[in-house]
């Protein structure tokens, strides 16, 4: 049951322990691990962006004679013009282009991928009679709860009228649905955090210390 001799496993294990040492209190060992992480991340992403975006999509095709690539390179350089007050107006061109493309993709995606299917999914059990054709009692209850939840939660976010009377009751019901949703998210978040801890603990005990099979 000897500990590993792999140098990189040792590096990973000691850095893991250094980061967790913060739980006791802030200390120089933690700071060193933190700075190493920040420095490595900056270096990694700089190299990553160059080799995955800039070089293969811009500079390499340009070197092969694709001179159209001068346009995106020029637009990229224009992003830096905002560093000077005299030239900052030029940044509008690349920003407008990015906004236009993003909006074009995003609006279609939001409508096609989210809004329409979600609306249909909420109402179709009633309009298509799926709810009444199903013989599963709890499925039918689920459809009703879904519809009530959607409508009540939407009314909670309706601020053009004071939340009194029916609107008040509905928005209150909406709050309960929201609380259930937040509770479910919180439970899942705990599961995610425990999983991260488990991943590190398992690494330390098996890969590093070899006390687990």
């Amino acid at each position: 049951m000897l500990m590993t001799t792999g140098p990189w496993v040792w590096v990973a294990a000691l850095l893991t322990l250094a980061i967790y040492s913060f739980l006791y209190k802030d200390n120089p060992v933690y700071k060193v691990a933190e700075y190493i992480f920040v420095g490595l991340s900056a270096g990694y992403w700089a190299a990553f962006l160059w080799w995955n975006y800039a070089y293969p999509n811009l500079f390499e095709p340009l070197a092969r004679g694709n001179y159209w690539n001068i346009i995106p390179i020029a637009m990229g350089l224009m992003m830096f013009t905002q560093l000077s007050r005299r030239t900052s107006w030029m940044v509008r061109f690349p920003l407008t282009f990015v906004l236009g493309v993003s909006l074009g993709l995003q609006i279609v995606a939001a409508v096609e991928g989210d809004m329409v299917p979600q609306l249909a999914g909420t109402f179709s059990p009633f309009t298509r009679g799926a709810m009444f054709n199903t013989y599963d009692f709890w499925t039918s209850v689920g459809y009703i709860v879904l519809l009530v939840g959607v409508l009540a939660t939407i009314t909670y976010f309706f601020f053009s009228k004071e939340h009194k009377g029916i609107l008040g009751v509905s928005s209150k019901v909406g709050i309960y649905f929201l609380m259930v949703a937040f509770g479910a998210s919180f439970g899942y978040t705990i599961m995610a955090r425990i999983s991260l801890l488990f991943g590190r603990v398992h690494f330390l005990l098996s890969d590093w210390m070899h006390v687990l099979k």
Partner: protein, 275 residues
């Protein structure tokens, strides 16, 4: 200082220590708590089970090492299921740090356990930058987006890719995702345009918001967090890291529920005392 005051001023390091013990001790003294398979995971299993032999499963590794404890066991289990059923696997990823994890999974399961042949039974195109634009083009022309695999081989030289040209040649798309770009982008930019079977495995923190897509049929399956991975390990009858972790998960959850109850009791007691 009475009990309520002591608890109210409890050193938080004691809480950290108890949570650590709750995670560590079950590794040495396993309880073997039961793992029930939930419908979203069963649905995914059934979809893969229903694909004709030779169908192509496109698996997108959209996570990095921090998501590995939750998602890598799901990746391994789903690969086991695919190769056991003689399905072909086309791997790519929207997260660059996920590429080595994908390679490791294919080596371990595809080559190590099932003796599958690269280029014939599975291929790996690695990281695909571009997010939304890439996904829109991917469904239209896979060869255009995936011109080379991660080893630099041209797509035309990979026999498996001869009949895999566009979205309708794919039997199932799986997004193993822990953030952006990930399952959202697959739903919005790929599935909305090209339809077909799309499923996701999510880290626990992201899983709740994908149930809505299951209900609408936009997703055909959902594996949520380490629990979902453990369920899939049970379905393919190959217990791995996720199953090992479920005892720790359960004990830690019970402990945290205890802390939440205790915290509320102290809160109300102190409030009552001040009133």
């Amino acid at each position: 200082m009475d009990f309520i005051e002591k608890i109210g001023r409890l050193d938080r390091r004691i809480i950290f220590l108890t949570v650590a013990l709750a995670v560590i001790l079950p590794l040495f003294f396993p309880l073997g708590l039961p793992i029930e398979v939930t419908p979203p995971v069963q649905q995914l299993y059934d979809v893969i089970e229903g694909l004709p032999g030779g169908s192509v499963v496109m698996m997108s590794i959209d996570y990095d090492p921090s998501g590995a404890p939750e998602l890598q066991p799901a990746t391994l289990s789903i690969l086991r299921h695919c190769f056991r059923r003689d399905l072909k696997v086309l791997m790519l990823g929207l997260w660059a740090p996920g590429v080595p994890l994908g390679v490791r999974a294919l080596d371990e399961v595809g080559v190590g356990e099932f003796n599958k042949e690269y280029g014939v039974d599975f291929v790996n195109f690695g990281y695909k930058p571009g997010g939304a634009v890439t996904l829109v083009n991917l469904g239209r022309d896979i060869h255009d987006v995936c011109r080379q695999d991660i080893y630099g081989t041209a797509v035309e030289e990979l026999p498996m890719m001869d009949d895999v040209k566009a979205a309708n040649d794919i039997g199932l798309v799986l997004s193993m995702s822990m953030g952006v770009p990930g399952s959202d982008q697959w739903i919005w930019y790929y599935h909305a345009r090209y339809q077909g079977n799309l499923a996701t495995a999510q880290t626990a923190i992201g899983a709740p918001r994908y149930y809505q897509y299951l209900q609408t049929g936009q997703l055909v399956g959902l594996v949520g967090g380490m629990k979902g991975s453990a369920e899939y390990e049970r379905l393919v009858d190959h217990m791995g890291l996720a199953t090992t972790g479920m005892d720790s998960q359960s004990i830690a959850h019970l402990l945290i529920i205890g802390f939440v109850i205790l915290g509320n009791i102290v809160y109300w007691a102190e409030k009552r005392r001040k009133a």
